[in-house]
Amino acid sequence: MSTSTEVTTFHPEVLVTGGKTYVDVNNDVSAPLERFPAKAWWVCFIIAVMTFGLGATLAGIMFVNGLGVLGLNQPNGWGIFIVNFVFWVGIGHAGTLISAVLFLFRQKWRTAINRSAEAMTIFAVMTALLFPVIHTGRPWYAAIWLLPYPNQRHLWVNFRSPLLWDVFAVGTYFTISLTFWFVGLIPDLATVRDRAKNSLRKTIYTVLSLGWRGSNKNWSHYESTYMILAGLSTPLVLSVHSVVSFDFATSNLPGWHTTIFPPYFVAGAIFSGFAMVVTLLVIAREVFKLKDYITLNHLEKMNKIIMATGMIVGYAYSCEFFIAWYSGSPFERFAFINRAFGPYWWAYWIMVSCNVFIPQVFWFRKARRSIPIMFVVSLFVNIGMWFERFVIVVTSLHRDFLPSNWKYYVPTWFDWGITLGSFGWFFIWFLLFCRVLPVIAMAEVKGVMNVDEGDGSHGPAPLKEVPAHG
């Protein structure tokens, strides 16, 4: 490992270390899929299922009794659930950014992380989508009535409502992300199919790989499709969180009614998404022994992006204060002074500390390349970004226009339990993904390897071992 680190340091083009051959790639990446899950996986999985079970039980009680079990009240019509929604949609940003935007910019280092980042995106959006539905008073109607379907009652949706834009924005984002992810999986699914010994396993992966043969024609169709989908996804990276920010920006509430929200939300989403990717990858590369594929170089690049977006977010925080002052509106000024020094001052300063101050350690190369430091920082960033949404949603609502309506908001155990349950839900999917799909895009990694040169210790890879579809 020490020698390989040296190599990486002096030759940044080397994206895969450890002198891997194409066969090594197949073996290493497919290994977790082909053996019975280890004890650690089961422990994690059972914890995730139990956490989800807790949230689902609490949500069930909530469906039976009403939203009164939550901490919501008269000025605070939205609370932790909307915070969670925005948080999870934000997490879901990094995947598409890494896959689509970095792909279009020919950033080859993305190949090591794009698969798991995209998976994370899809599961995060699936988690996010739970909240707008269950936070409504009558979710059994909300799930259907927000869709503009033709009906004989002449009922239609309100196209002026940002909540409806959300339905389209998040719905589109989820569909495109899922398609993009699945298309990218096809060659790898075929590899898994070809390696399968069990007939059921073979059948399943045969169906999933859509008859991939690895032919020239296959590859040419695949690559153009992939490019088109990357192009389609790119504007979505910007649009989803812009539209989510419209929920707030187009309202008239001081603290929400802000034109800076779309870019600020997108930067924040990328910021938190990258932090979540770092959190997950630091664990995954350890557990699945993928350190040669997800190298410190990759993580360092991620950390640089985290620091950059963190500073954009920090700029947005200060800009908000300036505009509040500059506007001259007493409502605006009050909202922001109240944010930092009012009853929720603690939330505000948690947010600023986690999002602006703590990521500054990445100015130091040592910190950028230290696994423990980046792990801790990435956790702090996610805590900070959760609090950012809390600050926006709650501190603006709890003291709005008429002082007679002001009231503190305190979440209940139902709020926290269901929030915890959403993490369980996310990790159930992520853990299943690690067991049934290749966590690294094998086909793409092979494309960025320089096997012929090797690093001298293993010699060139024998040609016959290169799979036809790789």
């Binding site: 009794n65 009403g66 939203l67 009164g68 901490g71 919501l72 009240n73 008269q74 000025p75 019509g77 939205w78 707008p132 936070h135 409504t136 008073g137 009558r138 979710p139 109607y141 909300a142 009535w145 927000l146 009922l155 239609w156 949706v157 309100n158 002026r160 409502s161 940002p162 909540l163 409806l164 339905v167 929920d247 187009t250 309202s251 008239n252 509430l253 506007s327 001259g328 509106s329 007493p330 409502f331 009050f334 609502l397 709005d400 226009f401 008429l402 002082p403 007679s404 309506n405 002001w406 009231k407 305190v410």
Partner: protein, 624 residues
């Protein structure tokens, strides 16, 4: 009262009939030893329409009619008589107390061997009127006509009927002797504390304690619901290091009670006050154990000159902190307007100089007419609107109860008020200004403003709240999925979300309170003031039948109908002759948060204070 209890204790009373009174609760019962005294009376009959503390001590409890089920009359003041006619058939197997008396009379006469004519209460009342009021007024027609006329109008003014020109004497005599029982101000030691007991507008002496509407009606001043508390002035609270919700022990001689503290701006630093009417033990499901019974602190003053009287004020007390807390269910936590353009209040001198005088001169708080991308709403037929006069509003909160009764507004209970989920469609906001020791108070009825540019309407994803062509902001309950976005975007926060199925707590006959013209809402949906749309519908139907438009005064919103000060005026803004249209044009009219360009259909009239110094200084001070 003390004479009666003494006689009861001495065994001089053979039978005691208690009619619609609850001395075992609403009296200094401990002081009097009432429970013991009642045990010595061989026959105790309590006539009551519900269970109470006195009934628990009775040999017999006679269920009386509710007043809506019974006949009755009244003579409120000189030359005015009124009739009370049953509004409904008795629900339970109750009997009017007056009928009981008549039956007992017949039975008594029978025992004595005398025949008595069987009379029921209605006939008796009619006969009585024939003998008295009919004779007094000297009406020309038959008694039948007179009686039917009296029932129709409900009131007989003998004075007016006779065309008397002499001024009517309406003042009641005031018992000056009771003043002598109060401690003399000069004699008070400056470091002593005195307790004053008072009756609340809602529960009065506790007779209304089992009425959930009244329990949940916020006190107009303190905004506390469901409990009584010890009012402590700000200076005293500072001195004793007391905070809101601290539980203190109030000690006077041998009596002790524990009450949570409410810091009340404007209260004298040597006085603490508490409301009677709480802490009942046999009121029923709603009233039992709400608050603390402070009647034991009422004293009976015996003096030679005067009749023994109950003394509610002036007792010397000591306060002791217990270290315990009790969370009072307030409906308003912040008491200042923070200099926002919510209230306009000026002095009489300022008003005389310029009736349009305004508190808020900051250009950022002034409405500017700017070009709009959107077309304006057109109101071709009616345009409903409201005007509320802040000068005449006393904050009595009768409008809140009227609205609750009319619009099936549910009661949510103490715990839900604590987390600010009360459902009142109209509420009374109360703001203080000036010094906490002697603040100015302003009341502002706050309800859905039915904005022309309603922020709630644009954000609902399913079009459950929409603008109608008569200026109403209507809420479609069936369509609402409960995103609560409308509530967030409402600058007035007058929308109410159904967090639970509150109607489920209404059992048995309580369901009779529902107004059949108004939907009972389920959980998960938003509701709010409709401007009594069911009344508008009804008035329009009636006008249509008559081939006419709804005329001004034909239609009243429930809050308006009940306001004793006539502070609320509702009507058609498209009719230039309507009262509301005229009030809206008055220089005193202003709209709350006008700067937001929501263009509310509700206007308020500037509060004019008859006081020397400027009333609108220091609105920003926070008192609570």
């Amino acid at each position: 009262m003390s004479r009666l209890t003494n006689e009861m204790k001495a065994g001089k009373v053979d039978a005691l009939i208690v009619y619609r009174s609850n001395p075992a609760y609403a009296s200094p019962k401990v002081w009097l030893g009432l429970a013991d005294a009642m045990k010595r009376v061989p026959l105790v009959i309590v006539v009551s329409e519900s269970e109470d503390e006195t009934g628990a001590l009775a040999d017999f409890v006679l269920p009386d009619h509710h007043y809506l089920e019974n006949w009755g009359d009244a003579h409120p003041t000189q030359a005015i008589y009124s009739l009370q006619q049953p509004a409904m058939a008795p629900i339970h197997s109750s009997r009017a107390f007056q009928d009981s008396l008549l039956i007992w009379r017949k039975a008594g006469l029978g025992v004595m061997g005398l025949a008595a004519k069987a009379l029921d209460w209605h006939d008796y009342l009619q006969n009585h009127w024939k003998e008295t009021v009919y004779r007094e007024i000297g009406a020309a027609g038959s008694f039948e006509d007179f009686w039917n006329g009296a029932l129709r109008s409900g009131v007989i003014d003998v004075f007016a009927a006779k065309g008397a020109s002499a001024p009517r004497v309406v003042a009641r005599s005031f018992k000056t002797s009771s003043i002598g029982l109060l401690p003399k101000y000069a004699a008070l030691k400056t470091d002593s504390l005195y307790l004053a007991l008072y009756a609340k507008v809602s529960l009065y002496d506790g007779r209304n304690a089992n009425n959930a509407w009244l329990q949940e009606l916020p006190d107009p001043i303190s905004s506390v619901t469901w409990d009584n508390y010890l009012n402590v002035g700000p200076a005293l609270a500072k001195k004793l290091d007391l905070k809101d919700d601290d539980v203190v022990e109030v000690v006077a001689d041998d009596r002790v009670m524990q009450l949570p503290v409410h810091i009340q701006p404007g209260l004298h630093s040597q006085v603490v006050t508490a409301a009677v009417g709480y802490g009942r033990s046999s009121a029923g499901r709603v009233g039992d154990h709400a608050g603390v019974d402070v009647f034991p602190f009422v004293q009976v003053a015996e003096s030679k000159e005067a009749v023994p009287s109950l003394v509610f004020s002036g007792q010397k007390v000591n306060l002791r902190k217990t270290g315990k807390f009790y969370k009072l269910a307030l409906t308003q936590w912040h008491t200042a307007t923070e200099n926002r353009p919510i209230i306009n209040d000026i002095t009489l001198a300022e008003y005389k100089k310029n009736p349009a005088e305004s508190n808020h001169t900051d250009p950022h708080l002034r409405m500017e007419t700017v070009p709009s991308l959107w077309g304006k709403h057109e109101y071709k037929g009616y345009r409903w609107g409201m005007a509320i006069d802040l000068t005449t509003c006393t904050g009595c909160s009768a409008c809140m109860i009227a609205c609750q009764a009319e619009n099936n507004v549910p009661v949510v209970g103490r715990d839900q008020v604590r987390v600010s989920r009360q459902m009142h469609w109209i509420k009374i906001d109360r703001y203080y200004s000036g010094s906490p020791e002697n603040p100015n108070v302003v009341f502002q009825p706050m309800l859905c403003q039915h904005c022309e540019n309603a922020p709630c309407e644009t954000v609902c994803p399913v079009l459950a709240t929409v603008h109608d062509d008569e200026g109403l902001n209507v809420q479609v309950y069936n369509r609402c999925v409960g995103t609560r976005y409308c509530q967030n975007n409402c600058p007035y926060k007058v929308r109410r979300f159904n967090f639970f199925d509150h109607w489920k707590s209404y059992e048995g006959t309580a369901n009779l309170v529902w107004n059949p013209d108004v939907t009972v809402r389920t959980r998960g949906i938003m509701e709010k003031c409709t401007f009594c749309v069911q009344r508008i519908r009804d008035a329009k139907d009636q006008a249509k039948d008559a081939g006419d438009r709804v005329k001004d005064g034909m239609l009243k919103a429930a809050c308006q109908q009940t306001c004793p000060a006539d502070a609320i005026v509702f009507g058609d803004l498209n009719d230039p002759e309507s009262r509301v249209a005229k009030m809206k044009k008055s220089p005193q009219a202003f709209r709350v948060l006008e700067v937001l360009n929501t263009v509310p259909a509700v206007s308020y009239m500037t509060k004019v204070r008859n006081q020397a110094e400027s009333a609108h200084s220091g609105h920003g001070a926070e008192h609570a």
